[in-house]
Amino acid sequence: MYKRGLVQVWSLEQPEWHCRIDEGSAGLVASCWSPDGRHILNTTEFHLRITVWSLCTKSVSYIKYPKACQQGIAFSRDGRYLAVAERRDCKDYVSIFVCSNWQLLRHFDTDTQDLAGIEWAPNGCVLAVWDTCLEYKVLLYSLDGRLLAAYCAYEWSLGIKSVAWSPSSQFLAVGSYDGKVRILNHVTWKMLTEFGHPAAVGDPRVVVYKEAEKSPRGLLGRPTCPPPRAAESKYEIAAVPATLQTLKPAADRANPKIGIGALAFSPDSYFLATRNDNVPNAVWVWDIQKLRLFVVLEQLFPVRSFQWDPQQPRLAICSGGSKVYLWSPAGCVSVQVPGEGDFQVLALCWHLSGDSLALLSKDHFCLCFLETEDGDTARGKLGSHT
């Protein structure tokens, strides 16, 4: 509850346990768990400081001068280290803390104009730091604070929009405002290849799935009155060359809708899913083994978010409608969320085991279970909770 500056914590196992943290006048802008589940990090208003509340010792630690940026805090995957982006005297710094006792391990400055984000590599040894969107710069620091490499693709144009590590730490995918994703390799930190996202897909080896409504009425479906429930939809394979819907961005407004807004690697590092904000309805899936485009999925509505199953190469997509879409190399399916009324799926989240999926709407969420029968996956039972 950000407005009130309160954080409330409940236990799943012991329903009577309960905790409440009040930031008071400091205000609350962001709050997150630590990886061991025993600490809560609250970012106060105006990013004055980060307060680390410990649930086991009721002690408080402060981290000063945190950076107010897109991704200023990053925990390493194994939960050992925390990297915090700081800014003092108009200079950017990165501090690395040991999560077990919150001791400062390293503190070093970065060669960035205005640090926009940091992210650990899954192997916990390299930290990727990237600059503001006005300048294209990716810096790679080792765990002990040494600068390993710097990469700059071009100058004088809007730069990086999103960054993602591959789970094997072999690749770093950098999505930029020019609509391209550049893949760097972990040995030389040089660009392996770049993927473009044009609106016209020409390669005949690519499969293009287009979502189409299964209208029960006539052929062209002139619905006289809007249907009570959203119509079922299915995927059709479109012939290549196919063109996708594009969106013309407003050039004079902030945060223009161009560039690669979302990137995600599949857990086996075989696939990379991207979304070009210019073509908001489509999700591009790239084959990393062959370094080329594999599949394009075009939805009827702009894609809000997508996430890979943590166990296998299965992608779940939601686009704000009442359906969740699943894609795997075997095929793709669109699943309707059952229930009365419209359930607008705004976000989704996979369970670590890959068996279930949480779908979040504005004030509801529902769990989708995926039965793993022989050969028949993605037949979902859906349960609903509020």
Binding site: I21, S25, C56, L143
Partner: protein
């Protein structure tokens, strides 16, 4: 001079003109005469010919002609004069000769004129042709000049365009540079501003924080029901220097582990790649070494491989043991050797390509087409084969299944027996067939041998008969008179020994009465009596009968055949038959000779 055009002048006038002009110079006379001669070609030729000489002025005309001819070098028309005063007689021979000479001359002149005319025509046509060529060439020259001018124009235009484009490019580049400079300056300005604003903001933040903290209206607190244990179950530790050191150690450990892991991966990759390279090198060497053994023209290639192999062999063993080392020299050596081998392979492939292209150039299109056709045919054949094989495999699978899925042992054994029974029966049938055939062959063989034996016997009998018959003849010979000249001549026509001649001489009169008495059937009957019936000999008799109907010469021809077979039989050479067939050029005789050779050959083969 006179009106030469009017030919209808009275003859006397002409004559008088001629006669009056005999006194003039010969040259003018000649010219006038030419004129004269040219005119009448179109008009009355005959009149002109008669106009010159008529019955009245013969003498004059003769004298005139004589004068003219002598001036031309011809002999005189007159006979040799005996005296001055006597009238000269016309030498007709001379006249004729002169005429002939004149005719010859005329012909020559005509020929020459024709030649000149044809040459004239030729030259005229050549001239025309050359003029045409010249005109064409002039035209071509004009057009090419015009083209050249056009091209030059275009070239100039393109160069202008090029210059303009270069200029535009330069302008654009300058603009880009300018804009970049502007952006850079703006960026620095912006950074400066940003820094200023940030400092202000920080100051404000600090102020606000102080103010807020001072107020302390609400307490910042945390309410927890109870403490939650640590995630790892241990107790929290104090922050000390030791713990800091421990943290550092842990961090370095993690980093080192990561580096070691990566290095292992890279080493593994390296080892694999080296293996692959080594394999490639070996394969390349093996590919190129067969060349070395065959004595081919490419000596340089073979020497190249020989050299490389010689280098490799001593180092080969050593290198294999050094696989795991990754020092510079080993790596360099490996890469160098691979490169060398690759270059050799490349040059070899290029040479092969050249060869192939040379071969192709000769029969380019056809070979291509043929090869493609062959290729297609082959692929079709292969596809058919594949289909057949697949069908076979299916049937076999079915059979196997039947065999495998045996419900009962009995049925399986029955089935097996059935299959075997079928096979057994088939084998029996075949065996019986084979035996029958064998028997037939044996029979035939036996019959052939019997026939051969019979033939031998027949022959013997026949010879004995002949010998006896000859003896009889010889005995009867003395009772007969000697022959006419015809017989002698006829006998001389035959080639052979005196013995034979005598025999024929003697046999002929013997035969004559045979023939006269219509003894052709008798002859045959006699012969048939002596010889047992056999197909070859019957043929022989038939042919003999048809022959004997011919004239005596034919009969005579037959007889040497008769005698000859005996001799041939004795000598046993079938080549004699060809000799026999030559004098006997009738078809029948040839036929019979051939059939006899067949049987004869058989007889020889089957003793």
């Amino acid at each position: 001079m006179g009106d030469w055009m009017t030919v209808t002048d009275p003859e006397s006038k002409n004559i008088s003109q001629y006669t009056s002009e005999t006194k003039m110079s010969p040259s003018s006379l000649y010219s006038q005469q030419v004129l004269c001669s040219s005119i009448p070609l179109s008009k009355n030729v005959h009149s002109f010919f008669s106009a010159f000489c008529t019955e009245e002025n013969i003498e004059q005309s003769i004298s005139y002609l004589d004068q003219e001819l002598t001036t031309f070098g011809f002999p005189s028309l007159y006979e040799e004069s005996k005296g001055k005063e006597t009238k000269r007689e016309l030498n007709i021979v001379a006249v004729l000769n002169c005429m002939n000479e004149l005719l010859i001359l005329q012909r020559k002149n005509l020929l020459a004129q024709e030649n000149v005319e044809t040459q004239n025509l030729k030259l005229g046509s050549d001239m025309d042709h050359l003029q045409n060529c010249y005109a064409k060439l002039k035209e071509q020259l004009e057009t090419s000049r015009r083209e050249m001018i056009g091209l030059q124009e275009r070239d100039r235009q393109l160069q202008c365009k090029n210059r303009n484009l270069h200029q535009l490019l330069k302008n654009e580049k300058d603009e880009v540079q300018k804009l970049q400079n502007i952006i850079a300056s703006r960026a620095t300005q912006y950074n400066h501003d940003m820094k200023r604003k940030e400092r202000e903001y920080n100051k404000l933040k600090e102020r606000l924080h102080q103010l807020v903290m001072n107020k302390k209206d609400r307490k910042i607190a945390m309410e927890v029901l109870n403490y939650v244990g640590r995630a790892d179950g241990k107790r929290g530790s104090w922050r000390t220097g030791k713990s800091e050191a421990r943290n550092e150690d842990e961090m370095y450990k993690i980093l080192l582990n990561d580096y070691e892991y990566r290095q292992k991966q890279i080493l593994m990759e390296n080892a694999e790649l080296k293996k692959v390279l080594q394999q490639m090198k070996k394969e390349m060497i093996s590919l190129l070494s067969p060349q070395k053994q065959k004595p081919r023209e490419r000596a340089d290639d073979s020497t190249g491989t020989v050299f490389s192999d010689a280098e490799e062999d001593p180092g080969e063993l050593g290198r294999e043991s050094m696989w795991d080392l990754s020092c510079e020299t080993v790596r360099e050596q490996l890469t160098n050797s691979i490169r060398k081998q690759w270059r050799i392979l490349k040059s070899h492939v290029e040479k092969l390509d050249n060869q192939v292209s040379k071969v192709h150039l000769e029969g380019f299109h056809d070979e291509d087409v043929i090869s493609r056709q062959d290729h297609e045919e082959e692929t079709e054949k292969l596809e058919l084969e594949i289909q057949q094989c697949k069908e076979m495999i299916k049937t076999q699978q079915q059979l196997l299944q039947q065999l495998a899925t045996a419900c009962d042992d009995d049925t399986t054994s029955l089935l097996r027996d059935c299959y075997l029974l079928e096979e057994k029966e088939r084998l029996k049938e075949e065996w019986s067939l084979f035996k029958e055939q064998k028997k037939n062959f044996e029979k035939e063989r036996r019959s052939f041998t019997e026939a051969a034996i019979r033939l031998g016997l027949e022959r013997k009998a026949f010879e004995e008969e002949r010998a006896s018959w000859l003896k009889q003849q010889f005995l009867n010979m003395t009772t007969f008179d000697h022959q006419n000249s015809e017989n002698v001549r006829l006998s001389s026509a035959f080639s052979g020994s005196s013995d034979r001649d005598n025999l024929t001489v003697h046999s002929r009169p013997r035969q004559k009465p045979f023939r006269v008495s219509g003894g052709s059937p008798v002859c045959t009957s006699k012969l048939t009596k002596s010889l047992p019936a056999s197909p070859s000999t019957s043929d022989f008799c038939q042919t003999r009968s048809c022959v004997s109907e011919h004239s005596s010469i034919n009969v005579l021809n037959v007889t040497p055949e008769e005698t000859k077979p005996s001799q041939a039989g004795r000598e046993g050479a079938s080549q004699k038959w060809s000799v026999a067939s030559r004098p006997a050029s009738q078809e029948g005789c040839c036929g019979c000779s051939l059939t006899y050779t067949n049987s004869h050959a058989e007889k020889d083969d089957l003793p």
